[in-house]
Symmetry: C2
Subunit: 293 residues, 2 copies
């Protein structure tokens, strides 16, 4: 390798690593274990070939352009996608590798469950990084699927809470993130795609937040009351696994009252849209409150 | 549930299922096993709550608008994200569930490796669906990470080829998809982000295709020749697992010649960019051809 290239690569690698350091969540927000696992694999000493190629290609096609666009977040996203693929490839069910880049593989260091989720989280955050450069819709759906207040975050805390005492705040975090985030974002994504005015977007966001909670409380109630046949999945599994649920934390009666409250609040949120326009969203809230499976 | 809502939901579910049927790859392209696994879980009878919410929210905020925008692909993407999360949650390392929606869970039906990859593929194709609606960059990176000519596709065929005789065409598919697609797209993403002119984009695309191949041939050679210490990963693992590699299919001498050819072709592709602009991409190709780790 030429001395020039060596210096150039070192500078590019530093640029990428510094930005990855900023973009990857640390221990201060969301579930620490999965963030540590993500960082373990991303900062295990890769050569950053993909980000470097991305940055040099951008440079090559616009070398003298004044308002130069540097795709640093896209470059970081490519490294996250590459790293997620390594984490999953190394799993026992796939290549079953114990070492990668001279360090223990992710599942060796953090266990299989966290390794699977850390891989998922890196793929997800990659699209958040790309979306931040070009599309609110992409960034928002990726965030709702990710580790901070998103689906993977809720799943990690849920896993780590099994068999432990869970208080009302932790329960709320788990459900808001694990199920709520994607439901809320489903509503918001439709409205954003349709070009909703700010007041309308705010209305559906409130609705989405409340039905997210409603959905999960009812799920928890049904897991206690339903049968495997009606549910199509193993009933009573939550209790058997000592999962954090609303009936377990708040009791059945209060859980029912909370479900009713969420349903009413969801419907009230729709007011700015007008009765007619909100018809189907309102009916869906009523249905989610009453569902038996 | 009101009769009205029942009809509306049935109509929406049908709309979503029909579009998912079109958007999800079938048995005719790419690796069949992972596509069957994806469809097994997506078409296992979900209620399509997230897509319905997305579609109804769009409807609610633009009820009388003439050129109405229907976020059907975004709605399908949300269902794919939801389904991927169920597949991974059901895995033995996580919730270890055997049934879901009354059918065997994905890993029960297809094995753990394919279930992990089918989940990855659904998360990935979701961003391809969203990207198709709003961002070439997102769609392209998702495609390069996916099952048809993308990273997951190559990984599936690679896994399924272990211990079997692999011909030159299959070897080329595996490597073009597994490693090549993301390398090629790394180069293209930088150029697209930077607003490359068509001729420049074509030049870097050719470059990306050739270094993708170069990278993998050299990886295969190093796996035979390198030591675990230099590589930072287990050396000789490919041969031990009877993996499809260039030295195994073509012999060492021809593999070296192919690497040299790819390197030269990569450098030749850069011509339209001019010598100066292409400097770093050219040096990287030389480096990738000469690397020892």
């Amino acid at each position: 390798m030429s001395v020039d290239l060596k210096a150039r690569l070192a500078q590019r690698q530093q640029q990428v690593d510094a930005r990855l350091e900023q973009l990857l969540p640390g221990g201060d927000v969301g579930p620490e274990s999965v963030h540590r696992a993500m960082r373990h694999s991303v900062f295990a000493g890769g050569k950053r070939i993909r980000p470097v190629l991305c940055l040099e290609a951008a440079e090559a096609v616009q070398p003298t352009f004044e308002g130069k666009r540097v795709p640093i977040d896209v470059a970081c996203a490519l490294e996250c996608i590459h790293t997620y693929s390594l984490i999953h490839d190394d799993l026992p069910a796939l290549d079953n590798d114990d070492f990668r880049r001279g360090k223990p593989t992710c599942h060796k260091a953090f266990g299989e469950a966290i390794a699977i989720l850390a891989g998922d989280a890196l793929l997800t955050i990659a699209f958040q990084m790309i979306g931040n450069s070009c599309s609110q819709l992409v960034a928002e759906i990726a965030a709702a699927s990710g580790t901070i207040d998103g689906m993977i975050g809720g799943q990690v805390v849920d896993l780590e809470s099994e068999g432990k005492h869970v208080d009302a705040a932790a329960l709320e975090y788990i459900h808001r993130s694990k199920t709520g985030a994607l439901l809320r974002t489903s509503v918001r994504a439709g409205a954003i795609f349709a070009g909703a005015a700010p007041a309308a977007l705010e209305a559906v966001t409130g609705y989405g937040r409340h039905i997210g909670l409603l959905f999960q409380i009812v799920d928890d109630i049904l897991d206690v009351e339903g049968s495997t046949a009606t549910l199509g999945k193993t009933a009573g599994k939550d209790a058997a696994q000592l999962k954090a649920t609303y009936p377990a934390v708040h009791g059945m009666e209060k859980s029912r009252a909370m479900a009713k409250q969420s349903m009413d609040a969801a419907i009230a949120s729709l007011k700015p849209l007008g009765n007619d326009n909100a018809k189907w969203l309102r009916e869906i809230a009523l249905y989610l409150g009453a569902r038996r499976s």
